[in-house]
Amino acid sequence: MKKSESDEIKDVILESGIKVKPVYGPEDIKDLDFDREIGQPGDYPFTRGIHPLMYRKRPWTMRQYSGFGTAKETNERFKWLLEQGQTALNVAFDLPTQLGLDSDDPFAEEEVGRVGMAVDTLQDMEEAFDGIPMDRISASLTINPVASVMLAMYLVVAEKQGISWDQVRGTTQNDILKEYIGRGTWIFPVEPSIRLIGDMVEFCSKNVPRFNPFSVCGYHIRESGANPVQEMAYAFEIAIAYIQEVLKRGLSIDDFAARIAFNFDIHGNMWEQIAKFRAGRRLWAKIIKERFKAKNPRSMTLRMIAGGGGGGLTIQQPENNIVRGAYYALISALSGTQTMALCSYDEAYTIPSKKAALISLRTMQILADEMGLKDTVDPLGGSYYIEWLTNEMEKAIKECMEKVEELRGMVQVIESGYIQREISRQAYLYEKKIQSGEIAKIGVNKYMMEEEMAEVEIHPFNPRVIEAQRRKLEEIKARRDEKKVREALFGLKKAARTHENVMPHVLKSVRSYATLGEITNVFKEVFGEFKEPVNL
């Protein structure tokens, strides 16, 4: 290359801090041991994918986030999405439900049925899944501190449909540690919150073996401002904290590791994301095998939902988000995801409208059926650049994990507020780079247009939901057997105070039509509430 040419090119440094050359060749991966570091899809260390045939055998699961208003309205939307070819459900709950408040709680007033469906008692869950075969259609429940209650409701509804628990499939998000970092639906202090997750894992491993009791979300950590390396590293450290909790109870790693699920983010540099997922699969397999001594290869597989990246979408020129969503879906498919959920183009405003949800679903269907994404596994494997970058990402994720472990692990850095502060500062630096144009964002700092605040058709809020929920609560309370409710809640309180697994008592409470708020209040009385470390 002539000197004048090399002077012209600018450095490319990825968000994770890795410097990228203009060209890669065999010398960049000359030390790469193919059998040990890459191997065949479906084989350790699963760099190329967790199944031998991947999408050739079964395309990714399509699971758009949906739910709003009452359970009845949500049930109609679920059925409509399934009719349109969606293959699983991803349930949105409103904020009062996510925070364990009943719809008649004064603090819930502005939020009932707004960003998801309102659930107060078992009856709401019965209505939400009415006519949906729960042994064939799996649901992912986006619920965290009160995941135990939603799991119990889900299981009782399945039972009423005549489906035995060993056939029930689904996921509770149930990743409380990331809630303290980003997303913010926490209730109880850290320690008892992790104990509840342990109770659920223990209960599911014995009774609901096809259910994923938690899904660790790098997603929200990245949305809060972390870079892709931190996203993966922090998610792994969180998963390790849960694993340690479960191992304390005498379960072996192979009793439950195959049911650990992950939820990751996609936005930013395409190659960095693809390498992140390939590196993540490899590193996770090594951690589970080498550190936790798993024997079952299935325990070592990083199973994930990925596709969305709300942080990459813009409120300006919102239709551009349709295009971004399609690229994120492409990245997700090239990365070997198991499940895809795209952020719809109106994500920057609200929960998806019917039209926006349909465009997201069709985006995935077009990719799967028209573009050849199902034809062959890990089509980018072997690319000099991708393999080099996969190595670099793995090294960086490992280093980032070591830093957290030097600070005594994820629980410690969350309780002190250290990690929240680090991520906020990074979000601020990122925002400054967006505002200065150092990081290009189309419609935001490049190719802006006068009509950039164009209105999109957004999901309308129904203010009558709160009255309907309150009425339903009154009716249920008048009808139910109060003695049964009190007994169940008393048993729950006793279990919460000791080391007894709370799940049988949560189930009993739910069956008695105790409300979500009543059950949560028992936990609040015993566990107390989280005190947020507010330090900027």
Binding site: L95, E111, G184, A427, E431, K432, V534
Partner: protein, 139 residues
């Protein structure tokens, strides 16, 4: 005498847990020389008003991403009127659709900064309005 530093309360009312925006704005205002008090998540309107009173702030900034910005802002403005705290400048940020901006201004909100607003615009807006207000009370 050096001018008194502008005091800003950044608040997260209600149940919404999206705090990236509030924290980014807090850091930007601090860098611009203001005193910033951040409430943390899940605050009631009464808690926010009490903090604003105790901390004697010039500005209250609400950050809302759940779509509940209209009822929550209305509640805050009513409470401020009841407590005779109408001298506090109120700003609202978050994912606010354009059609709602006028509604918020009609309630008495001074400025609305939806997602994508420039940090320097927020800083300059606060500085100018506080300065104008202080000049007005001096006369």
């Amino acid at each position: 005498m050096a001018e008194k530093r502008i005091r800003v309360l950044l608040a997260k009312p209600g149940l919404d847990g999206h705090d990236r925006g509030a924290k980014v704005v807090a850091l930007a205002l601090k860098d611009a020389g203001m005193e910033v008090i951040y409430t943390g998540l899940h605050k009631t309107i009464d808690e926010i008003v009490n903090t604003a009173l105790q901390e004697d702030v010039d500005v209250i900034g609400l950050s809302i991403y759940s779509g509940a910005h209209v009822p929550l802002s209305q509640k805050l403005m009513n409470r401020l009127k009841e407590k005779d705290l109408t001298d506090k400048m109120v700003l609202v940020g978050g994912n606010i659709p354009r059609r709602d901006i006028k509604t918020l201004i009609d309630y008495g909100v001074t400025g609305v900064f939806p997602v994508g607003a420039r940090l320097e615009d927020i800083i300059n807006f606060i500085k100018e309005k506080v300065k104008a207000y202080n000049e007005k009370i001096r006369i």
